[in-house]
Amino acid sequence: MEIVRAKDVVYEYIRRDDEGNIVGITKAVDHVNLGINKGDFVAILGHNGSGKSTLAKHFNAIFLPEEGTVWVDGMDTSDEEHLWDIRQSAGMVFQNPDNQIIAQVVEEDVGFGPENIGVPTEEIWKRVEESLKAVGMYEFRKYSPNKLSGGQKQRISIAGVLAMKPKCIVLDEPTAMLDPKGRKEVLEAVHELNKKEGVTVILITHYMEEVIDADKVFVMDGGQVVMQGTPKQVFSLVDELKELRLDVPQVTLLAYELKKRGINLPDGILTTEELVQNLRGI
């Protein structure tokens, strides 16, 4: 069953000069077709400016397609009647941890979403507690967000989305501004949600290491989906990825370098254990 489906989606940024004349049109999203299955962990990879964030904003009806259609949980995002249902079904976490926390106390921020959709008070408290526990931030519920680390703030934002009981959560480069520790924290929390709560995860990123455990990877370039498949399939294409301004995990790169030196290894090695095993077999 599909939770998100994009059909021939086009989105353009129009640049105008001071007099309002059109000086250029950038196709940020260019005829994208993709489907995301319920319960999957999906990653969308791409360099800066590849259109991946613009596409992600379509899944939450922040942007509406200029051509084509996006369906979220069966609802057309252009259909204004369903706007709030769509935003509740597909929650969104953004890049900058500071710019998406609204309240001055952690628990109140997590409660913000449920308040907006009119959840009764007692139920809000229950959801806030559950969500904070799910991301491991319950003991920080009375803190001011300003006192938390970047990784902790992002987990609060995830809890804030979770409290709205979404079916799908879209994370738009949630780790780009974090240090390695924060990145790990956030990723663990997201994987946990996917496994335990069964929430569909769409992770937008340019960190290769974050993609290894995904069920499916889409690679974007110039507004188009240029590759898709399992991480193993995608990371087999080292040269192609490099051309797309991307990279592969270091292990994969090492295996690739070894192959170039004439050592017989399979494509798309993703972990150290895999590489060691394969090398010992020789």
Partner: protein, 283 residues
């Protein structure tokens, strides 16, 4: 030209009024022409230390000598120090302000009181050195891509002709290619200008291939200070303080533990590939 950090400590009052230790008895010698990586996680004191090197922060105890002169001595010209020890902060958005990239890069040299012509020459020269494309020089700095903004910001400091260039997380938020491009440019810059470069990062992977010395900071103290090979040997200790060695180190150690005779001290991918290929041939 050298910088000697002599037992500096720095404490500051947090909002609660309880003093927080930012740096704790740090001593370093920064000689000419080195390429140094400073590693530590958030809150380890690495940014605080860098702000001491150009006199933005003043140590609570201890002192810093620039060419043998105590920078805390009365009458010491801090403005001059700041032009000699150039510090580029993490986010270019914090410094870009002028209408054009060119005017922005001119800001530093103008503050040094140089003639207009000299400022412009230096600005153009600096933009060239960081590989900034000519056709974007007169556009607004706010319309640039992340990588170009970073270049403009580095040029803005480079135009002051510093002897030491400190870069705080120059690759944050860049995609893999953008990261490699910036780091490659810095490497080239160092070779051509023969200046000292200090690269501040929380990622070993970023610096391993470039630097010839790594200083690891933890809780405001110098935890390790050695060549990359020697530092990565202590990968277990690094993990205890929440850092990690480059992935190559782990792979090489795993291989050597599994019985393959490889030297686990190599730090780059191509070295590792050569090493493994050679070891396999020996089998």
């Amino acid at each position: 030209m050298s910088l000697i950090v002599d037992h500096i400590s720095y404490t500051y009052d947090a909002k609660s009024g309880i003093p927080v230790v930012g740096l704790d008895d740090v001593s370093l010698v920064i000689p000419d022409g080195q390429f140094i990586g400073v590693i530590g996680h958030t809150g380890s004191g690495k940014s605080t230390l860098m702000q001491h090197l150009n006199g933005l922060l003043k140590a609570t105890s201890g002192t810093i000598y620039y060419n043998g002169e105590d920078i805390y001595e009365k009458g010491f010209d801090l403005k001059k120090l700041r032009s000699k020890v150039g510090l580029v902060f993490q986010y270019p958005e914090h410094q870009l302000f002028a209408e054009t990239v060119f005017a922005d890069v001119c800001y530093g040299p103008t503050n040094l009181g140089l003639s207009k012509k000299e400022c412009e020459l230096r600005a153009y020269d600096a933009l060239k050195k960081v590989g900034f494309p000519d056709d974007l020089i007169f556009t607004s700095p706010f319309e640039l891509s992340g990588g170009q903004k970073r270049r403009a910001a580095i040029a803005g400091v480079l135009a002051m002709k510093p002897e030491i260039l400190i870069l705080d997380e120059p690759t944050a938020g860049l995609d893999p290619k953008g990261r490699d491009e910036i780091l490659g440019q810095i490497k080239k810059l160092r070779q051509e200008e023969n200046i000292t470069v200090i690269l501040v990062s929380h990622s070993m992977d970023d610096v391993a291939e470039y630097v010839d010395r790594i200083v690891v900071l933890n809780h405001g103290k110098v935890f390790l200070d050695n060549t990359p090979g020697e530092v990565f040997k202590c990968y277990r200790e690094l993990e205890e303080i929440g850092l990690s060695a480059p992935q190559v180190t782990y792979i090489m150690h795993a291989l050597s533990e599994s019985g393959l005779k490889v030297n686990p001290e190599v730090t780059t991918i191509s070295e590792a590939a050569d090493e493994i290929a050679a070891a396999l041939k020996r089998c």
